[in-house]
């Protein structure tokens, strides 16, 4: 009976899209752009002198992405930063190696995560994921709200060419390996 109930729950989720934690989304939207700024080689990743933050989403998560983008823009307006920010919203299916971006933030997806992670690794783009499980597929950063805010970093992709964060960052993150956390 319990197994049936669980299968039903999964099925419903598949049919009607993923449910995001709004608080987590906001936390990630606040922190991830700042993490970009901790990259010592950020100037190599600028697109026309701007930091381009691309939110990649599934079609049914468009509004979630849009909400995040708006939140980030409002945040950006409040904070004075060295570089100007540009938020791009790109569907998973449209994301390719040609997509010009400084960093990529992936929402939930069943099939594109790995592809995007590989693209980011190739291009030396900083990648963030809503779900920390995506780190196993090659995404660099994720964030969870546990007893406190916890940043996760994919240890294997850390040595990606062109990414070099301030040292102190490594002291506050939790490292995740592909095989497990």
């Amino acid at each position: 009976m319990k197994i049936i109930a669980l299968l039903l729950f999964i099925l419903v989720n598949f049919s009607y899209g993923y449910t995001y934690n709004k608080l987590l989304l906001k936390a990630q939207a606040s922190i991830f752009p700042k993490i970009i700024m901790l990259d010592k080689k950020i100037h190599d990743k600028l697109i026309d002198g701007e930091i381009v933050y691309t939110i990649v989403y599934e079609k049914n998560d468009y509004y979630t992405a849009l909400e995040i983008g708006e939140f980030m823009e409002s945040n950006y307006r409040q904070n004075k930063s060295k570089y100007s920010y540009k938020i791009n919203l790109v569907e998973f299916s449209n994301f390719s190696d040609e997509t010009q971006t400084t960093a990529v933030y992936v929402l939930n997806s069943n099939k594109y995560i790995k592809k995007i992670a590989q693209s980011a690794t190739r291009k030396g783009i900083i990648s963030f994921a809503y779900d920390m499980n995506n780190l196993k597929q090659g995404i660099l950063f994720s964030l969870m709200l546990e007893k406190s805010t916890v940043l996760y970093l994919n240890k294997e992709n850390l040595n990606t060419k062109g990414i070099d964060f301030v040292d102190s960052l490594y002291q506050i993150v939790n490292f995740v390996e592909k095989s497990g956390s």
């Binding site: 606040s30 922190i31 700042k34 993490i35 700024m37 901790l38 010592k40 950020i42 060295k82 406190s148 805010t149 940043l151 301030v166 040292d167 102190s168 960052l169 002291q171 506050i172």
Partner: protein, 647 residues
């Protein structure tokens, strides 16, 4: 003698090292204490800084990422450090996090604050401040540990020094042992010095001492032999000197010292002292060698004279004086007989020297008792000489000792009187027989004794002459008399003995005083004719000098001696004072009258004034006038008085 306290060399060495070590340690301790304390404090500050420095990037990052809960975690972790009392995180001057430990309140008084600016991780922009309140507990612990270690070090040092002291004592122990052994060392004693086998400095010293001991022993033996030889020589010489001490070298007779020894050993003896009369003349006339020959021969003949008498011992006392000591008293008559026989036998002796016959006479003084015998025989000898007797036996009734004592008393009295200014002149007027007025005064010496009695010069003048106080008396009389008549119009006369005139010091004094008091024209010097003026030349020089100064000269007691008129005339005298013995019976004594008349006649012819002394009665006074004597002096007219002013 105070014994010097022993100062151990080993103790000194150890104490010196200890002192130096302690001083060095203390200096090191004080300096390092200061340096270390500062260093420790600096370490703590550095530690706090390192913590702040380490933690600041994390806080900065969390602050940057707005992960304040993470900051809180970090500060809570920090506060677990027992040295951190409180952590404060400020963001733009607002405290965003503050935690403090339980010990904060207790230890905040002894803490320090470390502040660090929080900078944004990706830029140098300051975003806040990290404040650490850091406890000094760690510093105190370090200091405590350091002090404990230092104490341990000092304790170790003390123990080491104590051990070192013991070791040094042990090293120097042989020296002490050697010194103990050497305390009892004497050149005749062989001491076994240990430690010779030691192969170090002690061994060398021991060996050297052993060698030295052998040499000293050899030297000591030599020295002993020399000493023995010298002792023998000294003994020989002592005996020789002793013999010389008791034997007269000229005559070979036992001497005065020998006689003293014999007298001490004699219980009931008698003594004769034999003095050769006028032996000086033999020496002067025949020479000292002849004198010595006479003495030798004389002593030999005396020896022969008494060689059969076993109780009579002949001695030579001095140049011309011999003694015959009877160690057993003969009967008195026999004793006197021996003395007389001796004198007679000597008178018969004739000594030959270069065909000259020399005869001698002796005077003998005898004492028929051994107690004080030498002194008594000597007194008897002197009395015999005085009385011109060839022998006199000491007699207690002679009271010679009493006279000596009396003379000595008078010497004392005289000295005391001189010292206390009790020798004074008295003035007796001399009257002119024509005018019956005072013509002059004679100044007569008087002694005022302790009871204020006036003592006549007859009692002390002879004593003064013998004790050499006479010139002092003359000087006193000159000074006081001249001073007295300085402002009087009278002439005055002072008595001078021939002894005074022959004394250059006295004569100079007289000249100085008569000039000082301006009495040269009024002073008359009375020279005693009875003294027997033998040195006419010297006296004549004196009278001439005085007359040149304006003084006048009188001859006192004229007629008492054996004056040579011719000599008297040479003295160019002004007055003749006729001797009292001629005056005192002048009224009855025809002979005296004739002599006085002759003297007056003689004087008149020579323009010499005559003075009659000792005029004691009206009859004598009348006779003096009748015989045309110019002046009169005597108790009949006036006694001597204290002042010439008094009539």
């Amino acid at each position: 003698m105070k014994r010097k306290s022993f100062n151990s060399l080993s103790t000194k060495i150890v104490l010196s090292i200890a002192l130096v070590s302690i001083v060095i340690t203390l200096v090191i301790f004080v300096v390092s204490n200061k340096i270390n304390k500062e260093a420790f404090h600096q370490i703590e500050i550095e530690k706090a800084n390192i913590i702040a420095q380490t933690i600041e990037p994390l806080i900065a990052l969390n602050m940057y990422l707005d992960m304040e809960d993470k900051i809180n975690q970090i500060t809570l972790q920090l506060i677990e450090n027992p040295n951190i009392l409180a952590v404060k995180v400020l963001k733009n001057d607002n405290i965003i996090n503050y935690v403090e430990s339980k010990e904060h309140k207790e230890e905040v008084g002894e803490s320090f604050v470390v502040k660090r600016t929080i900078t944004q991780p990706n830029s140098s922009q300051a975003t806040g401040e990290l404040v650490l309140i850091y406890s000094n507990k760690g510093y105190k612990k370090l200091i405590s540990k350091y002090t404990d270690l230092t104490a341990l070090l000092i304790l170790s040092l003390v123990i080491l020094l104590a051990l070192f002291g013991i070791y040094v004592k042990k090293l120097l122990y042989p020296l002490r042992q050697i010194s103990k052994l050497l305390k009892n060392y004497s050149p005749n004693k062989n001491i076994e010095i240990p430690f010779i086998s030691q192969n170090n400095e002690i061994g060398l010293i021991s060996s050297a001492l052993n060698n030295m001991q052998k040499k000293i022993m050899q030297y000591s033996k030599k020295q002993e032999n020399i000493n023995h030889y010298l002792e023998e020589k000294v003994n020989e010489k002592t005996l020789e000197l002793r013999a010389q001490l008791y034997i007269d070298t000229l005559t070979g007779l036992p001497n005065r010292f020998s006689m003293f020894n014999d007298i001490v050993e004699t219980d009931d003896g008698a003594l004769l002292i034999i003095n050769i009369d006028d032996f000086k003349e033999i020496n002067d006339f025949f020479g000292h060698i002849a004198g010595d020959i006479v003495l030798k021969k004389f002593s030999n003949r005396l020896k022969n004279m008494f060689k059969t008498n076993e109780f009579a011992k002949l001695k030579r006392l001095s140049g011309d004086e011999f003694a015959l000591l009877f160690i057993q008293k003969p009967p008195l008559q026999e004793f006197i007989k021996i003395a007389h026989k001796l004198i007679n036998d000597v008178e018969k002796m004739i000594f030959f020297n270069d065909n000259n016959e020399i005869s001698i006479r002796v005077t003998v003084g005898g004492a028929y008792q051994i107690d004080g015998g030498l002194e008594k025989a000597d007194i008897a000898l002197k009395s015999a000489k005085k009385q011109q007797k060839s022998f006199l036996l000491y007699d207690e009734n002679l009271n010679i000792e009493g006279q000596y004592k009396e003379n000595m008393e008078w010497v004392k009295k005289l000295k005391r009187a001189i010292e206390h200014d009790m020798i004074v002149p008295y003035y007796q007027p001399i009257f002119d027989n024509i005018t019956d007025k005072i013509a002059s005064f004679e100044c007569l010496v008087r002694l005022i004794d302790d009871e204020g009695k006036v003592i006549s010069p007859y009692l002390f003048l002879n004593v003064a002459k013998k004790s050499r106080l006479y010139s002092t008396l003359t000087k006193i009389m000159i000074e006081k008399s001249c001073m007295h008549f300085e402002n009087l119009e009278y002439d005055f006369s002072i008595n001078l003995s021939v002894e005074d005139i022959l004394n250059a010091d006295t004569v100079n004094y007289i000249k100085a005083k008569i000039t000082q008091y301006n009495v040269t024209n009024r002073i008359i010097f009375e020279i005693l004719e009875s003294d027997g003026i033998e040195n006419y030349e010297e006296v004549s020089i004196f009278t001439q000098e005085m007359k040149k100064l304006g003084c006048r000269i009188a001859i006192d007691d004229f007629g008492s001696g054996y004056s040579n008129f011719e000599h008297m005339l040479k003295l160019n005298i002004d007055y003749i004072k006729i001797d009292g013995t001629l005056i005192e019976n002048l009224d009855n004594d025809i002979s005296a009258q004739i002599i006085v008349e002759t003297i007056v006649d003689f004087a008149k012819r020579l323009n010499i004034l005559t003075v009659a002394e000792f005029v004691h009665s009206a009859d004598v006074y009348e006779k003096v006038k009748e015989l045309n004597v110019n002046r009169t002096q005597g108790y009949f007219l006036s006694e001597p008085r204290k002042s010439a002013n008094k009539e």
